[in-house]
């Protein structure tokens, strides 16, 4: 087979993808079997004006809820990541109402009681685990809620780290908790007040304040584009095999 670009295009255009039936909000569509749910919905003629963000599985805008024939389970996925399956019944659930408590972060100190006051519904959790089962990111949602009930904010922050705030947990909650908002508060408190501060950051800030890098930055700012490119290209790189004790020849700014 020729490998020239034009001919490849020609060949690929001839390939006909197998079409499979899917049901979008109850209506049947035939879509190519290899598409993601998001592309399949677009293929079926829908246009996203919201409920679609990064298309990379990170933003949390494209939550899909679906079922399969002959199976009572609820399945979830991110529309941009999950590939269609024959006869899946699906709908997009890009948003689910959940109330986020209002607080002045700088007045908080990172105490469990602060979370209990802002989100008293935390104690309505019955450990049914519906939240965990529905999470498209496989976060152990019920476990971080349990951690918060016993005041372990750092543990909750760690367990909820992969949360993309899609809101599916809140959609299924027996106790009507806004889990993802509570987790966000836990991560903020953990980051600001409960985990050790980076000591080197203080040194670095002090260095900046005393003007240690001012001259270097000014000289970079004064360069024209060509000089900037040249300086960048000629910079000294740390070799891939460098040991822990490697230092650059020019250590002016270390």
């Amino acid at each position: 087979m020729s490998t020239t670009t034009d001919e490849t295009k020609e060949v690929s255009a001839k390939v006909e993808a197998k079409l499979i039936p899917i049901y979008v909000m109850g209506k049947k569509y035939e879509v190519p079997e290899s598409l993601t749910i998001m592309k399949a919905i677009e293929y079926a003629g829908y246009k996203y004006i919201r409920g679609c963000g990064c298309r990379g599985g990170v933003c949390g805008a494209g939550s899909t809820v679906y079922r399969k024939p002959g199976d009572y389970k609820i399945y979830t996925g991110l529309a941009c990541q999950t590939v269609v399956e024959p006869n899946m019944y699906l709908t997009q659930l890009p948003f689910y109402p959940a109330i986020r408590a209002i607080y002045n972060f700088h007045e908080l100190e990172g105490k469990p009681e602060e979370i209990f006051e802002l989100y008293p519904e935390l104690f309505r959790c019955v450990a049914c685990n519906a939240c965990t089962k529905v999470c498209p990111m496989d976060v152990e949602v019920m476990d971080y809620i349990s951690a918060l009930k016993r005041g372990d904010i750092v543990e909750a922050a760690e367990i909820s780290f992969d949360c993309i705030q899609c809101g599916l947990c809140a959609s299924r909650c027996y106790g009507e908790l806004p889990q993802y908002h509570i987790a966000q508060l836990a991560r903020r408190l953990a980051g600001a007040y409960l985990t050790p501060r980076a000591e080197h950051l203080k040194t670095m800030c002090a260095n900046i304040e005393t003007g240690r890098y001012t001259e270097g930055l000014n000289s970079l700012k004064a360069m024209d584009t060509d000089m900037l490119k040249k300086t960048y290209q000629e910079r000294e790189l740390e070799p891939a095999t460098a040991g822990e004790d490697w230092t650059p020849k020019d250590s002016t700014y270390l």
């Binding site: 959790c125 019955v126 450990a127 049914c128 685990n129 476990d143 349990s146 016993r150 005041g151 027996y174």
Partner: protein, 291 residues
């Protein structure tokens, strides 16, 4: 025997003095327990509605964690946790229909049929460890401490999970005797402290708590020992409110049973986190030269 330890939420926050003293004491006694690496709130109160199965899910999930870990026993320190776990376990063991419903609902977990044994530190000490062996380990007997054992409700009721005779128990007395203390019996030692009434009807809770303390003092107790963080809240922490509301309400030092155990084993007072107790509780221990 392999034992999982189920702490319960309160022991990680308001009742750290119960947990720290118990863990130190168990270590000293050579009782090996491992805290579950995953656990959720047991629900604290066992639902009394016969068909309210959703509230049984939480404690059953904890029991499944014990089984998953390959342990045959789970030990609780908090009376409420003990009661909730033990009753859920009883149901899963004996009620085939409800067991089936709960197992079907929790389809993401392995099936459970009450295989794990739920114990409180009290019945573990009595049935597995033995009072005689415990007595041998006592280094600083609490001689001369006139202490009233306060059982509360959840260690003794209902009878399916009772550690001892629901109306005429002696396990707490035996425990305190073993520590060398002088046990003061008082009629109200198995009455309810007011429990969660403190939230909806605080005056009623204060009244009954006051009656319990007054009864203990009237029978000669100079201190109270108890096992439950909620009892401690009502009978210990709220003594200030009691004294404000009821003239002549007594000041009574209140301890967790594990704090007395740790001190009698000769462990440092730091293990007991006495700063979470009443000032009078610390003062009495100093007066008696236990710390």
């Amino acid at each position: 025997m392999s034992i999982s330890y189920y702490p319960g939420c309160t022991l990680k926050t308001k009742a750290k003095n119960l947990e720290s003293s118990a863990l130190a004491a168990m270590k000293e006694l050579g009782i090996k327990v491992e805290e579950l690496d995953r656990w959720n709130c047991c629900g604290a109160v066992y639902s009394l509605a016969d068909d309210d199965l959703i509230h049984i899910v939480a404690p059953v999930r904890d029991l499944i964690r014990v089984k998953e870990r390959g342990h045959d026993t789970v030990l609780a320190l908090c009376s409420m946790c003990y009661n909730t776990l033990a009753r859920a376990n009883h149901l899963m063991k004996n009620d085939e229909e409800k067991r089936k419903t709960i197992n079907m609902f929790m389809d993401e977990e392995p099936d459970y049929a009450g295989e794990v044994r739920v114990v409180h530190l009290f019945d573990y000490l009595r049935d597995d460890y033995g009072w005689d062996k415990l007595k041998e380990k006592i280094k600083k007997p609490l001689n001369g401490l006139k202490v009233g054992p306060y059982y509360g409700c959840t260690l003794l009721r209902p009878k399916e999970v009772a550690l001892d005779h629901p109306d005429n128990p002696s396990i707490f007395e035996k425990f305190l005797e073993t520590l060398g203390a002088e046990v003061i019996n008082f009629p109200m030692s198995t009455q309810c402290c007011g429990a969660y009434q403190v939230l909806g009807n605080p005056d009623a809770a204060v009244k009954v708590s006051h009656e319990i303390l007054t009864d203990a003092v009237a029978h000669g107790a100079e201190a109270l020992a108890l096992t439950c963080p909620l009892c401690d809240y009502n009978l210990g922490r709220r003594q200030n409110i009691m004294q404000e509301k009821i003239e002549g309400s007594p000041e009574v030092p209140v301890y967790y049973f594990t704090q007395l155990l740790a001190l009698a084993l000769g462990l440092p007072a730091a293990d007991c986190h006495l700063e979470l107790n009443r000032e009078s509780a610390v003062n009495l221990l100093k007066d008696k030269s236990y710390i």
